[in-house]
């Protein structure tokens, strides 16, 4: 009996140790990018030879980087807006209405999660070619909207399932129109999820390499630019600096997105408790 009692905390500590090791496994490999981005050497190897910011200076003045960054921002913002705007009514329909066949609809929507990206890329390439639409950043947006929508819908649906349906019904009973109910009741309650969806879908688009690789034509997004640089060993230090900057920016964005989402849930619950 006493043996079992002493066993328990020890087992808990074992799991905690594992969890910390696992976090290290997730984070340490990525940390080498910022570490070596400040290293004063062409070679990515120990021992570190000295501190420098020259690689960052090179990134800063590189016009190809600027162009690729600008392209990625344009594509990411458009894809985020389009997929989130499409997902808001879709998520509402899937959470609020009893629809025949909604399981297969959800299946089609989340299909892109189960199809390898390369297949999404080449099949869209074939279709665009067949209907003679030239490749451009807009065709990249189209491909990204397809992979962004499942994420947007998941984020929005979990939020819409989380708040009380009777709030909307009360508004309708009190004589507000469907449209006004949406703007005055649904929208403010769902707003945190909308912001979170915009940020997360932006990240999905901003990170994507493979779909953009097939659909971008001659315009390079940032991942395509980075991919092109990886072939040249002498370019690696600047790729490290660029990569470190991207990692930092995306971490800030994701943490912000997740906090907006969770903060909104707590705030959304309060009026419900009060009512």
């Amino acid at each position: 009996m006493s043996a079992r009692r002493t066993q328990r905390p020890r087992k808990g500590r074992g799991l905690l140790a594992y969890a910390i090791l696992y976090l290290a496994f997730l984070y340490v490999p990525v940390m080498f990018l910022p570490l070596f981005s400040f290293n004063n050497s062409m070679f990515i190897a120990f021992p570190l030879s000295g501190f420098t910011t020259q690689w960052y200076a090179q990134v800063w003045v590189d016009s190809a980087v600027q162009q690729a960054l600008w392209n990625s921002l344009k594509v990411g913002i458009t894809a985020a807006l389009v997929s989130t705007i499409l997902a808001v009514p879709a998520a509402k329909a899937l959470t609020r209405y009893r629809l025949p066949g909604d399981a297969s609809i959800l299946g089609l929507i989340s299909l892109s999660l189960f199809v390898p990206e390369i297949v999404l890329g080449i099949s869209l390439l074939i279709l665009l070619n067949a209907v003679a639409i030239p490749l451009s950043l807009m065709t990249v947006v189209l491909g990204h909207v397809v992979i962004c929508i499942p994420f947007a819908i998941t984020v929005l649906m979990s939020r819409m399932e989380g708040f009380d349906k009777s709030l909307e019904e009360a508004s309708l009973d009190l004589g507000e129109s469907g449209w006004m109910t949406f703007w005055r009741v649904t929208f403010p309650l769902v707003l945190p999820a909308i912001i979170s969806s915009l940020l997360l879908t932006f990240m999905v688009s901003f990170d994507d390499f493979l779909i953009a690789y097939f659909l971008a034509g001659t315009d390079a997004t940032l991942p395509i630019y980075i991919w092109g640089q990886l072939r040249f060993p002498y370019k690696l230090p600047t790729v490290l600096a660029l990569g470190a900057l991207i990692l930092m920016a995306s971490t800030v964005l994701v943490v912000f997105a997740e906090f907006v989402r969770s903060h909104g849930i707590e705030k959304g619950k309060r009026p419900m408790v009060g009512a």
Binding site: V30, F32, R96, I226
Partner: protein, 306 residues
């Protein structure tokens, strides 16, 4: 209130009928709200995939695409030894990646679901941040870690532990497995965590009261009940991995080339789209069948244990 709404109901004329019907019919309204998304999904996902399937029955003759029905592409896909070998390798690598990722993720998800009390949210954020950061950069990070002059080799050499770089680290299937186990971590943790979190804790208490030890409780209650999450995670990892292009290309070397690299070449350098389409369709179909059979077998096994 009731009088007001009754009065309102009398007023609409004949012209308002379709509008009222629309407002009444939940189904119709629901489909209307869904329609823009469905149109995009049909145009940019379903139609392209259908066209891809169609292309696989055509052929490329020089610069001209022949739309004459043929099974030649599938003959080549299944007939060429290199393609078959690459396909088997893709399945093997993906299976190992799935197994390793799920096994590593399970204790982590278990820890967050059962041991963490107050800071669950913080742990979940910490575990999902890497998922949202650039996949390409994470693969690249492994390249600089495992490389010939990379972090591990140069680190061990500068410590004097080894004198020659270890060549077995990069450019092989092992490098692909570790890179992808790292890349897919969140895909494994989140579904497993969700199914663990759903488990009714009173079941575990009941089993403990009835004298089941911790290990017995785990294998008879926790593990079977969390299996939907495990299966979900496995499918979410296995299927995209079979079609992964970046990791094999960056860290796989010639030993780690996978089926996606063959498909990519057909669509870029070689320019034989029908053959690329056939390889893609055939491997997706095979992966789909393997996945379905495995999931069925797992479910049957669980049902027997229960």
């Amino acid at each position: 209130m009731a009088v007001g709404s009754a009065g309102e109901r009398q007023t609409p004329g004949i012209a308002a009928w379709p509008r009222m019907l629309y407002r009444r019919s939940e189904t119709l309204r629901g489909y209307t709200l869904l329609s823009p998304t469905m149109v995009i999904m049909l145009l940019a996902l379903a139609a392209p995939m259908a066209l891809l399937a169609l292309y696989s029955f055509w052929s490329q003759e020089g610069y001209v695409l022949s739309t004459h029905f043929t099974l030649d592409q599938y003959g080549t896909t299944f007939g060429r030894d290199t393609y078959r070998a690459l396909f088997y390798r893709s399945i093997a690598i993906s299976s190992v990646v799935t197994l390793v990722t799920v096994l590593l993720a399970y204790p982590m998800a278990y820890f967050v679901a059962f041991r963490v009390q107050k800071s669950k949210f913080l742990w979940l954020i910490l575990l999902t941040i890497p998922f949202w950061t650039s996949y390409l950069l994470r693969v690249f990070a492994w390249k600089i870690i495992l490389g010939y002059d990379g972090v591990i080799n140069s680190g061990l050499m500068s410590l004097g532990i080894i004198h020659e770089p270890l060549e077995f680290l990069l450019y092989n299937p092992f490098a692909v497995v570790i890179t992808l186990a790292h890349a897919w971590a969140a895909f494994a943790i989140l579904p497993i965590y969700v199914s663990l979190e759903k488990i009714d804790r009173s079941l575990l208490e009941a089993a403990a009261d009835l004298g089941d030890g911790a290990i017995r409780r785990f294998f008879r209650i926790t593990l079977p009940l969390s299996l939907p999450g495990v299966i979900g995670a496995a499918v979410l990892i296995f299927v995209p991995t079979t079609g992964d292009y970046v990791s094999p290309a960056l860290v796989g070397g010639s030993e780690g080339v996978m089926i996606a690299n063959i498909i990519e070449v057909q669509f870029t350098k070689v320019g034989d789209w029908p053959l690329g389409a056939a390889v893609a369709i055939a491997s997706m179909a095979a992966v789909g069948i393997i996945t379905l059979l495995t999931v069925q077998a797992l479910r049957a096994a669980v049902a027997r244990v229960k």
